[in-house]
Every structure is written in structure tokens, then in C-alpha cells.
């Protein structure tokens, strides 16, 4: 596909007036592009993970990087999640900028001590004298028949840890820009992709593209209800918003993009405009990050609301293998439409 010139996304650091070359890319390709550019730009950036070299990674995000950067910087590890994340923490503490890949977020439990007790707190425990510029890239989510141990949405675990940042891009352009920004960040970032997004396509700025962490993006404007969401549910919410428009309801879709830091202002200003807030996420509702957002909205925008904030989220069950069950446990487009209509009908 030839490069086209279109206005850059509003969040691009180039500023509102700038235009940048873009190219249609798959989400996986956009991540690959970010890794390649950051590795070209900064020799301190290395990648560690299982099957990331010749194989190119379980979802092909590191395809071709071994040939370009060699085995020192594209380091295929044994099956040792705690080993590979711990190694990355050590390397980060002493000046490299590692990107550690965990094939499935379900395996993050194996590395949790290195992430939670070490990486997240090292800066603090060293009184500010140390830093851990580490990115843990991983992917979660259901919908691919991968069942209970390969499909969880665990972002809430990580948002609960002081010292960690948590990023969940929904589009190829955001994936590229946020990954580059995460790599340049001086704190550890959990960078959580969604397995069903890798083969989605979109226009992505070629060359350097940064999306700063902590800035939400209004993916669709509307006046009747705000849908706050992230990752793949942004796509479902946009589909739902199109259906809602047919029903005469103008939904605004706010993609938070980064859960920590969270762009409270953009969420609150949208909710103040629409006076209704629906948070949608795939993770189990109980203890999910939607509760945090709903609470912020209730605490800070209560007087502007026409209805209590509402959450639509995953059912309290492990993700089942059988497809008829799997589809029933996480919000689908029709569920979002229904919840938004109920909220607007009040």
C-alpha cells in the first residue's frame, strides 16, 4: 500500500497542525515498527523473551528483528519467566532499556515478584537513586479459544501496584506510539496487548511516532453518554456507538489508552458533557479497573451526572474453552448497546 498523507492523530506530539506520512499496518506490525525504530535509535534497547528470535514471537511482533539486531539484542531465553523478567530488571537497573516479552499475561504470575516487589519499587527503595526503565510486553484477553490459562485480563492487578505504569493500546497507531513512549519512559511499564488486535489494521505514522503515556483519546464524539474503555473493547464500543447512532443516541467513546497514569481530566470533561458514564472492560467486573473509574466519576463529577456511573464487564468465571461459553463471558457489542440505552433511558 503506498504511503498516504493524512492528518496525524490528535495525540501525536507533532501538534494539531502537523501532518505525517502514514501507512496501513497490522497492530502486530506497528509494534514491530516501534521496536525496530527504538532499537535503531538507542543501542541500550534490548528484547528478551521466549521464541522471539527465529520464530518471531508467538504473535510475530519481533519478526525480523533477530536478522537486523543479532542475538545479543534479541535474546531468546529459556522458558523461565521469573528469570527473564528478573534479568531484564537487573539490566535496566544498570543502564539498559530492556523490553521483556511474556507470551501470555497469564504467565505474569510466575514473574510477579520481579515485577511487583522489585521493578515497581526499586526507585523508591533506593531513595530515588535507581531507576528501572523496563517494559514488560505481554498480551491478554479472550476470544481465540485459548481458555482459562491463556485468556485472562489482568490489568487491574498491575494498576494496584505503586511504581508501575499500565498501558493498553487499541489501535495500530496507538500501539506504535505508546510502545515507543514506554521504552523511553524511566519507570517500569506493563504494556498489555490484546490477542485479537494483532491482526487488526489501521493507518500508522511512519517514522518516529510517540503517544505520551497518560493521555486518553476521544475515539468518537457524542453528547448523550460517555463510554470509557480500553484495548479491544474500544473497537467493540465504536461498533456499539454506530448502532446507538441509528437509535438516535450519540455516544462518546473515550479510549483511556493508559490506565496508569490515567487521564482523569479527559474522562471527567467528557462525562460532564454527556452526564452519563458507562465503563466497559473485558476483565472480571469484581475488582476491575472499571470500579476505579466509576468511583472517580462519582467522587468528582457527581453533581453533573444524570445517572449513576455504570460498569459493563466480564462475568466472574475463568475463560472457558468451548466457544458457546467463551462468547458469553465478556461484553459483546449488543451488550454495550443495551447497557448504553438503559443508561440513557435512565
Amino acid at each position: 500500500m503506498p504511503p498516504t498523507r493524512v492528518p496525524s492523530s490528535p495525540a501525536a506530539v507533532l501538534g494539531p497542525a502537523a501532518v505525517q506520512e502514514t501507512r496501513e499496518m497490522f497492530y502486530a506490525e506497528a509494534l514491530n515498527d516501534a521496536l525496530r525504530l527504538e532499537m535503531q535509535r538507542d543501542p541500550r534497547v534490548i528484547v528478551l523473551g521466549e521464541d522471539i528470535a527465529e520464530h518471531g514471537g508467538a504473535f510475530q511482533v519481533t519478526a525480523g528483528l533477530l536478522a537486523e539486531f543479532g542475538p545479543d539484542r534479541i535474546r531468546q531465553t529459556p522458558i523461565s519467566e521469573i528469570g527473564l523478567v528478573g534479568t531484564a530488571v537487573g539490566a535496566a537497573l544498570t543502564g539498559l532499556r530492556p523490553v521483556a516479552e511474556l507470551m501470555y499475561i497469564d504467565f505474569s504470575g510466575l514473574a510477579i515478584d520481579q515485577i511487583v516487589n522489585q521493578a515497581a519499587q526499586n526507585r523508591f527503595m533506593f531513595g530515588g537513586q535507581a531507576r528501572v526503565p523496563l517494559v514488560v510486553r505481554t498480551q491478554g484477553g479472550s476470544g481465540r479459544g485459548n481458555a482459562a490459562q491463556h485468556s485472562k485480563s489482568l490489568e487491574a492487578w498491575f494498576t494496584h501496584v505503586a511504581g508501575l505504569k499500565v498501558v493498553m493500546p487499541s489501535t495500530p497507531a496507538d500501539a506504535k506510539g505508546l510502545l515507543a513512549a514506554a521504552i523511553r519512559d524511566d519507570d517500569p511499564v506493563m504494556f498489555i496487548e490484546h490477542k485479537l488486535l494483532y491482526r487488526t489494521k489501521g493507518a500508522v505514522p511512519t517514522g518516529e511516532h510517540l503517544v505520551p503515556l497518560g493521555r486518553a483519546d476521544v475515539k468518537r464524539e457524542g453528547t448523550d453518554v460517555t463510554i470509557v474503555t480500553w484495548s479491544r473493547d474500544v473497537l467493540l464500543s465504536l461498533e456499539a456507538a454506530a448502532k446507538l447512532a441509528d437509535l438516535g443516541i450519540a455516544a462518546e467513546v473515550v479510549d483511556v489508552r493508559s490506565l496508569v497514569p490515567l487521564d482523569k481530566e479527559k474522562i471527567l470533561s467528557s462525562v460532564r458533557k454527556t452526564r452519563r458514564c458507562l465503563v466497559v472492560h473485558e476483565a472480571i467486573k469484581r475488582g476491575g479497573y472499571g470500579a476505579e473509574i466509576a468511583a472517580i466519576v462519582a467522587e468528582e463529577a457527581f453533581d453533573d451526572l444524570d445517572a449513576p456511573p455504570r460498569r459493563l464487564a466480564g462475568v466472574d468465571t475463568p475463560i472457558p474453552y468451548a466457544q458457546p461459553l467463551e462468547l458469553g463471558v465478556v461484553p459483546q457489542v449488543a451488550d454495550i448497546v443495551k447497557a448504553a440505552r438503559e443508561l440513557v433511558a435512565g
Binding site: A53, G56, P78, Q149, A322, P324
Partner: protein, 343 residues
């Protein structure tokens, strides 16, 4: 192999009957034919996801033949179709899992394929997370020891599964406490794309045993009787109260890691041909022929297995799917969470 002499046949020397040898061959052949048919069904779009054991037949069947079904405990991994079949699972059971049916004996359609589970055969349900079975197997062995039973635990994994800490912590624990557990490691030279040279800096998984002060045996995974012999040696030792062993079985995975994998990215066809030249199933057949089993009997066996597989597919495909209204079953005990939330 099998140059005829006046010596006892190899299976007799190992305390096995000719029926045992035939049974082992049948289980290997069923494993192979199932694997080939499942891959084919995946390519035809009739099976969403499969993982097969082609090349691992002797490793799995030979070791599982040592297990006393329903007495010993088994904690296998996803490659172990052959182990499950020896322990009484059927071809139909495998397809019920592949089609995620309500009557899938492993999980009722909840868990992915090949996570074998059988209360009757003491098979503990598996995990897709690599190596988690090993500490649990040591724990089962600990319980056996505390209860003063004479059971043995057989746990299985691939070469790659010996890298996570779980493996080392489990073997260390079992060795210290002399627990009756056998770690059967099917070394097929690759963990998805990662060769064993990137998994460990010793040539054999069995070499790791020295670090824990336990025996590390190496079996020829193309020879079902050798696998039986080595596993038996380890099991006898465990039953005598002398503790755990690692049994490394050298074999090769013929198919991609799973139906989602493309192995041409990381390994050559030459290696495959090299291993196929000493194929475990072919060697099993040649052994039976050399022991005087008539060719037509083996042909009839193959035809009967083929018919069983086709029948199993038909029956499994028409079995009921799990019901949406049962979505919340099995998350908690029937009473649910007292006063708790469901969603």
C-alpha cells in the same frame, strides 16, 4: 534390533508378555493415527486447535506401561496423548476434547485440548502453564509418603519444561525428602522454536539429576521397550523408598508444536527425516513381526483402529455442546460464595 538368538525375547526379559508387547504397539499406533487424523481435520477446518504426539509414541506408551492404573498417580503434560490412552482414555475422549463438548471427560469443554484428567485413573488435570505439574507431583508424592502408601507418582514434561524454577524446586524438594516421584522428560530437542542448546548448557536433561543427588536415566525414545525398562528401574527404586529419578527420553516431535505453529521458521526437514528413519511405531511393528506375530494380525489392528477413529469423530461431533446456562458451574463449589457476588 531383534536379531533372533536363543536368548529370551526382550519383552520376556523385562517381565512382559507378548500381549503386553502387542498392547504397547496398539497404543502407539492409535496415538500416531489419531495425531495424523487430527492434524488433517485441523487443516480441513473441522478442528479449531490440536496438539499431537507424533514421534513421542514410544516415550509415552513405554513409560505409561509401568504405571499401575488407578493405584499410582499421574501428572502428565499436553503432549501425552499416548499416556492417556494407555491409562484408559479412548479416541472418542480425545475428539470430545477437540470439539469442546459437554461430555469431554477432561473438563466438560472448559479447558483446552490435551489437559488429561481422570479420577478413575488418578490422572491429575493438567496445566497449559509449563512445569506447574512438577511441584504438585512432588506434593502428591509427599502425601503418599505421609500416608505410608506404596504408590508412585509419574509426572511428565518436555525438555523446555526443565527450565522454569518449578522443575528445579520440585526435584530438589523430592530429592531431599526421598519422595516416590518419577520425572519423565520427553526431550524432543525443541521447545516450540527453542533448541535444547538455548534451554540448558548440559547435553542431557538427565545430567541435571546430579545436582540433586538423584539418578538421571536416559532412554531411547524410538524403542518402547527401552523406555519401559528405564522407567521401571526408576519406579522400582521409588517403590523401595529410595526416592525420585529423572528419566529422560530422547525423541523427536514430527509435527509443528501445535496446529497454530509453523515449524519451517526454525527447523529443517532433514532432521525430521533422520528421526523418521528410526520411527518408534515402525520399530514396534518390526519387533512384533520378529517375534512371530503374523502380518495379517497387524493389518487387522490398523484397520480396526482406523474404523474406531472414524466412529469416534462421528459420535463426538454429534455430542452436545456445553450449555450457556451452565456458564457459572464449577467456578466455586455448589453453594457459591456465602453472601457473595457472582459478577
Amino acid at each position: 534390533m531383534a536379531i533372533k538368538t536363543d536368548q529370551k525375547p526382550r519383552h520376556t526379559a523385562l517381565g512382559l508378555t507378548l500381549d503386553d508387547a502387542k498392547g504397547m504397539y496398539r497404543a502407539m499406533l492409535l496415538t500416531r493415527m489419531l495425531g495424523e487424523r487430527m492434524m488433517q481435520m485441523n487443516r480441513m477446518g473441522r478442528a479449531a486447535f490440536v496438539g499431537v504426539a507424533d514421534g513421542h509414541e514410544a516415550a509415552e506408551v513405554g513409560s505409561a506401561w509401568v504405571i499401575t492404573r488407578g493405584h499410582d498417580w499421574v501428572h502428565p503434560y499436553y503432549r501425552d496423548v499416548g499416556v492417556a490412552l494407555v491409562l484408559g482414555q479412548t479416541a472418542k475422549d480425545q475428539f470430545l476434547g477437540v470439539f469442546a463438548k459437554a461430555t469431554d471427560p477432561n473438563s466438560g469443554g472448559r479447558q483446552v485440548v490435551n489437559q488429561f484428567s481422570s479420577p478413575e485413573a488418578n490422572i491429575v488435570t493438567g496445566s497449559v502453564c509449563i512445569a506447574t505439574q512438577f511441584p504438585q507431583a512432588a506434593g502428591i508424592a509427599l502425601a503418599i509418603k505421609i500416608r505410608k502408601e506404596d504408590r508412585v507418582v509419574f509426572t511428565y514434561g518436555g525438555d523446555g519444561s526443565t527450565s522454569p524454577g518449578d522443575f528445579h524446586e520440585a526435584v530438589n524438594f523430592a530429592a531431599i525428602h526421598k519422595l516416590p516421584v518419577i520425572f519423565v522428560i520427553e526431550n524432543n530437542l525443541f521447545a516450540i522454536s527453542t533448541p535444547t542448546s538455548k534451554q540448558m548448557s548440559v547435553p542431557n536433561v538427565a545430567d541435571r539429576a546430579a545436582g540433586y543427588g538423584i539418578p538421571g536415566l536416559i532412554a531411547d525414545g524410538t524403542d518402547v521397550l527401552d523406555v519401559y525398562a528405564k522407567t521401571k528401574e526408576a519406579a522400582d527404586r521409588a517403590r523401595r523408598g529410595e526416592g525420585p529419578s529423572i528419566v529422560e527420553v530422547k525423541c523427536y516431535r514430527y509435527q509443528p508444536h501445535s496446529s497454530d505453529d509453523d515449524d519451517s521458521r526454525y527447523r529443517s526437514k532433514d532432521l525430521l527425516k533422520e528421526w523418521q528413519a528410526k520411527d518408534p511405531v515402525d520399530k514396534g511393528r518390526d519387533y512384533l513381526l520378529s517375534e512371530g506375530v503374523p502380518q495379517p494380525e497387524l493389518e487387522a489392528m490398523r484397520a480396526e483402529i482406523a474404523a474406531e477413529i472414524e466412529r469416534s469423530i462421528d459420535e463426538a461431533e454429534s455430542a452436545p455442546d456445553p450449555r450457556a446456562e451452565d456458564l457459572l458451574e464449577h467456578v466455586y463449589a455448589k453453594e457459591g460464595i456465602p453472601g457473595g457476588t457472582r459478577a
